[in-house]
Amino acid sequence: MKKLFMILFVITTLVLIVACGNDADTSETTDEGTNASDDVELKVFIDQPRFKTYYEDFLDGFTEYYEEENGITVRFQLEMPGPNEAAQILQTRLSSNDSPDVFTLHALNNIPVYDNAGYLEDLSDLPFVENLLDAPLNAVTRDEKVLAAPLETLYWGYLYNVDIFEAYDLEVPETISEMETVVETLSENDVTPFIRSFQERNIPQLFLPLVVGALAETENPDFFERMDNNDASLKEFEGFFDMMDIQNEHGTDRPFEIDGAQGSNMFANEEAAMWVQGPWYAESILASNEALNFRVAPLPINDNPEATLINASVSTSLAVSKDSDHKEIAKDLVNYFLESEASNALFQDLLFNPVSTKHDFEPFPWLDEAMEYVEAGRSYQDPPIPNAVKSESERVFQTYLAGSDSQDDVLEALDRTWEQSLALD
């Protein structure tokens, strides 16, 4: 027993010493900054664990490149939490001054909030900015400063199965009435019109940007301005739930048990003709059925064909922390993500669209049609809905689709969260 005591005692003392030692270590590296040391550790936070190996290889490539160019060995502490936790983990890090040096954020959703909080480093001087295409450049620019490097650009509405549409001679609907006809024809032929995959909360959430974006673009252009002054309400949008209801009434069974992966599997196996979803599921759809012929089309919201528009958005983007101890290296890394030779391959592996003139590969076939709409001016930029409102909509849309909340309940809850998010600044 005496031995046990001594062992315990020694362990605890050692631990305390080690802990203090560690502490000293970290403060040392902080002081050093970027200059003398030739061995640097960068903390990188990327919220796409499904692409883990691709990113790891890419970062290894950077280490090699950087060692050759600058004689500095960069090691990475890569954090890739699961999709459910990513947002809250990043938020905890940022607000407890434990920010990663480089982290992903959603360009349109997060840049305003994080910039106001003073987390984001200005990247305007980096070479990649010169080569960015216009749309992504706009999305990452705020007050004439470029605050992030766009990785993932999205052009989306809903996905439809071209073969099924052709088999029944269906045209892509331009209005909600035409959509109803399509749904009718499909149902008559025993084809389920829609995949319903509501288990993952962020899938029904997609209706929020789709409806608000299209309607604000066409009939309520000053909506966001008035919303910022607490002088508007989501109740202004007539027919907010129309498209959501059509999909919910004509969809596959047991939606709350189907997540995105199962949904894409079902869509790939032609269990339904349409899926309100973005092309970011292309990878897993093709993994289930490589031959599936699908396209992206704009979702009709009402009977005004002008409001049937593609949502153009920039989501995953890389930012550099203002508090980073290795800012220069972090910036070099972000630049490398868009400017290097390896960038081309990475973007193709992850099925991302080109964002820079440096990217010389062809866009993916399922986007052809969507791009035609965009080129014809039939698109809008993903609306600036506060993050908190989006995550609230995940909850309340699920409740609505399960039949427990009324439409008014839903809109009131969203209005309330919007108001609260304004009160924070």
Partner: protein, 275 residues
């Protein structure tokens, strides 16, 4: 006599039924962890026809299992060592010092046992960051000492009261100072309750989820529970791999349980009755 026999059989049948229900989920997870996705979707109840060890090798390559085990061991080891040592010291002293002050201090420690973790999680995260221990397994272990020491004080104090004072007095006459007396005389006598404390904390710290989630930043520092949580998000319904990783995580504790079950079960009963 006949009646007794009948009721005994009835009793046994009920127990077996409950036992089967209790064991069923674990059994299902284990047998299906050796199947392919197709087999799982088509015949989940049958025993596997061919053993797909690839599920395991793939799960192994995804989580660095040795590293994760080591991390869990570090956190749990440091936490338990500190809790047992510091808790027993304080518990002993409080039990042996009569008076208002000790009583107040004792109650002061005790009251914290009712605080829900959610009440302190935000400020605790901030504290860990301020003193620079966030993101390290050692730091996490140290935090557990602070959270678990109260219960240890409580249990030791109760136990010390059953130890006669004469032993310490004899040691004192022999010229030992107080710390020496504690180490040589008291600590061995406390061993039954210390084992109990160790076991209760082992179950808690090893299996804890939320605190490591908030504290550990680097994938390489993840405890085994946290690694599996990440996999669950990553694998997206790739059940064979998920199940294999669930089995891998559960094996260490179940093995410990099989060997130590007498101590564990007695320890729990002990801990509760003393409480």
């Amino acid at each position: 006599m006949k009646k007794t026999r009948l009721s005994s059989i009835f009793n046994l049948v009920i127990l077996i039924a409950f036992g089967a229900l209790s064991f069923f989920p674990i059994y299902m997870v284990v047998i299906n962890s050796f199947k392919s996705q197709d087999q799982i979707f088509n015949s989940v109840l049958q025993l596997p026809t061919t053993l797909h060890f690839t599920n395991y090798t793939e799960a192994f390559s995804q989580i660095n299992i040795v590293q994760a085990l080591w991390n869990s061991l570090t956190v749990t080891g440091i936490g338990i060592a500190g809790i047992v040592l510091f808790g027993s010291m304080a518990g002993y002293k409080l039990a042996r010092t009569p008076g208002k002050l000790s009583q107040i201090i004792f109650l002061f420690f005790m009251s914290s046992m009712l605080i829900p973790f959610h009440s302190i999680m935000i400020t605790l995260t901030r504290m860990a960051n301020t003193i620079g221990i966030q993101g390290s397994t050692v730091g996490l272990g140290i935090i557990y000492i602070g959270l678990g020491v109260s219960m240890s004080i409580f249990l030791t104090a109760g136990f010390v009261k059953t130890i006669p004072k004469e032993l310490e007095e004899a040691a004192k006459i022999d010229g030992a100072n107080e710390m020496q007396t504690f180490i040589k005389v008291i600590f061995p006598l406390l061993s039954p309750i210390l084992v109990t404390i160790g076991i209760l904390n082992l179950l808690w710290i090893w299996n804890d989820f939320l605190l490591p989630l908030l504290m550990l930043t680097n994938v390489n520092d993840y405890t085994i529970i946290l690694s599996v949580n990440t996999l669950f998000g990553e694998y997206n319904n790739d059940w064979p791999k998920i199940l294999a990783s669930l089995v891998i995580t559960t094996i260490p504790l179940i093995t410990a349980y099989v060997f130590l079950q007498k101590y564990i079960l007695d320890g729990i009963a002990e801990g509760a009755v003393k409480g």
